[in-house]
Every structure is written in structure tokens, then in C-alpha cells.
């Protein structure tokens, strides 16, 4: 877990160096793509969970 985190941070600091990859069985994914996909999932969950305060709403 710490190793994976270090990889993520390492990638964010310099994107032009050699790529960082995570292997898990037959799955091999670049840290860049993993971050994008992870953020999409987090964004989706946040979008449906965060209360939406509306002005002048009536119900």
C-alpha cells in the first residue's frame, strides 16, 4: 500500500520520467490511468452523496 502510494506521488511530481506501473495478476495499469479512473469513481460517488442545496426550492 505504501509502495503504491509512493508510486502515485512519484508520478505526480514528474510525468515525463519513466512511467510507473502497477501489476496485479493479469492487470497492469499505469499510475496515470489508475489515478484518472480512481478520481472518476470518487467524483461519481461524491456527486450523488454531497447534498445539493437549492435556492428558492419548493417541495
Amino acid at each position: 500500500m505504501t509502495a503504491a502510494l509512493a508510486l502515485v506521488v512519484g508520478a505526480l511530481i514528474n510525468l515525463t520520467g519513466p512511467g510507473h506501473y502497477i501489476h496485479w495478476g493479469f492487470i497492469q495499469i499505469s499510475v496515470g490511468n489508475l489515478v484518472v479512473i480512481g478520481l472518476m469513481v470518487v467524483t461519481f460517488i461524491a456527486a450523488i452523496l454531497i447534498p445539493y442545496h437549492r435556492k428558492g426550492g419548493q417541495s
Binding site: V36, L39, M40, T43, F44, A46, A47, I48, R54, Q58
Partner: protein, 228 residues
């Protein structure tokens, strides 16, 4: 010939004797499907209360950024960004706008899927969304092929095998830079924008989908497929 005054002409009232005109029929269709209150609404049903609803607008915002940055790259041509620091920045802006475009589009897609947003005669809205996604993948791929660098060389020589295997490669030659650039800056952007416009007009014509209901509100008046 019946006379009609200027106000009635501009309001599109139309005389019975003009009703068989193509123009009058098209206007009548548009006014029935997209009256101003539907096309540019200032109110929405009260169930529209979630952040998930902004991802369609975010996707279009990113599309606008993609087109803007791509337009600037077009001004100077496909190899400008290798030698100019301004060009490199605009290229970076183009790349990240594309990443954002797909990012927001996928979140929008997930949201609409879990809302079963095709209900009530909205299947065509779903399908135009899927086609936009596919056209965007094509636009993204041809963009990668138009970079005039190692990436473009690598992706084109890898992509050719799959595309050749189903016969498309005979006509859509990913190794032909000129052809790919044309698809990337002309045909596919036009397709993405045109289908997006249709998608948005369908959303406006049908309105946003009401919440999932397990039973009809009133068995006597329930309409299969929604409002007709």
C-alpha cells in the same frame, strides 16, 4: 389572399392557406416539440436536486475547451507545438481538456445509467449519447495519430492490425498522416458536435427524466412510454 399583419407573421401564427408549405410544417413541428419554455427553460422539476446533473454541462464545457485549444493548434499547423513553448502549452491544454471531456462524459454516463434515463421515450437520447462517446473515441485516436511524434508512430502501427483485421483499414489507413489529420480536425469534430447538439435538443424536447416509479401514479391515466 388573406392579409396578415407584421406581429402575427413574426409570432409565427400562420394562415390556414399556408399550412401545406414545407416551411410552415417545419416551423409547426419545431414549435410543438421545442417551444421556447422547453428549449431555454428557467424552471426545472423539483426532483432535479443532485450534483450529478451538472456533468452534462461539464462535458460540454470541456468539449468547448477541446475545440478552442484545437482551433489555436490549427492556426499554426500540426508540428508547431514541437518547437514553440506557446505551442507546447496549447497542446497541453488540448490534451488535458480531452482528458476532462472523457472524465466528465463517463461520470455523466454512469449517472444517466443509474437513473435509467432512457425511460419515457428517451431511448434516442441515450443512443445519441452512446454515439457521441464512440465518435469521441475516434476523434481521440486520430488526435493521438496526428501528434507527429513517437506516440503517433507507435499508436498507428499498433492500431493498424485490429483495424485491418475487420477490413476497415483498407479504407481508413491509420498510417496515412494526412488522412488521419483530416478526420481529426474536420470529420470527427463535426460529427461529435452535430450529435451533441441533437442529444441536447432531445433532452430539451423531452425534459429531464422523472424519478423511477414502480407503479403508475394512476392506473387509468398511466402512459406507457411516458408523455407522448
Amino acid at each position: 389572399m388573406t392579409t396578415i399583419d407584421r406581429n402575427d407573421v413574426e409570432a409565427g401564427i400562420g394562415l390556414p392557406e399556408d399550412a401545406d408549405q414545407w416551411t410552415a410544417k417545419i416551423r409547426g413541428f419545431l414549435m410543438r416539440t421545442l417551444p421556447p419554455g422547453r428549449l431555454i427553460p428557467d424552471r426545472q422539476p423539483s426532483y432535479m436536486a443532485s450534483w450529478i446533473y451538472i456533468f452534462g454541462a461539464l462535458t460540454m464545457g470541456a468539449l468547448a475547451m477541446v475545440i478552442l485549444s484545437g482551433g489555436i493548434l490549427s492556426l499554426e499547423g500540426p508540428t508547431w507545438w514541437h518547437t514553440s513553448s506557446v505551442g507546447l502549452f496549447v497542446n497541453s491544454l488540448h490534451l488535458w481538456s480531452v482528458e476532462l471531456f472523457f472524465f466528465f462524459m463517463v461520470v455523466h454516463l454512469w449517472g444517466k445509467f443509474f437513473m435509467a434515463a432512457w425511460r419515457g421515450k428517451r431511448a434516442l437520447t441515450w443512443m445519441t449519447g452512446v454515439i457521441t462517446f464512440l465518435a469521441s473515441i475516434g476523434a481521440g485516436l486520430t488526435g493521438y495519430l496526428s501528434q507527429t511524434n513517437f506516440d503517433a508512430q507507435w499508436i498507428s502501427t499498433q492500431a493498424k492490425d485490429g483495424i485491418n483485421a475487420v477490413g476497415i483499414g483498407a479504407y481508413f489507413n491509420v498510417l496515412n498522416f494526412g488522412q488521419m489529420l483530416m478526420w481529426h480536425i474536420m470529420i470527427l469534430p463535426l460529427a461529435v458536435v452535430a450529435i451533441t447538439v441533437l442529444h441536447v435538443l432531445l433532452v430539451r424536447a423531452r425534459g429531464i427524466v422523472p424519478p423511477i416509479e414502480l407503479e403508475p401514479a394512476d392506473p387509468a391515466t398511466a402512459v406507457a412510454g411516458g408523455e407522448g
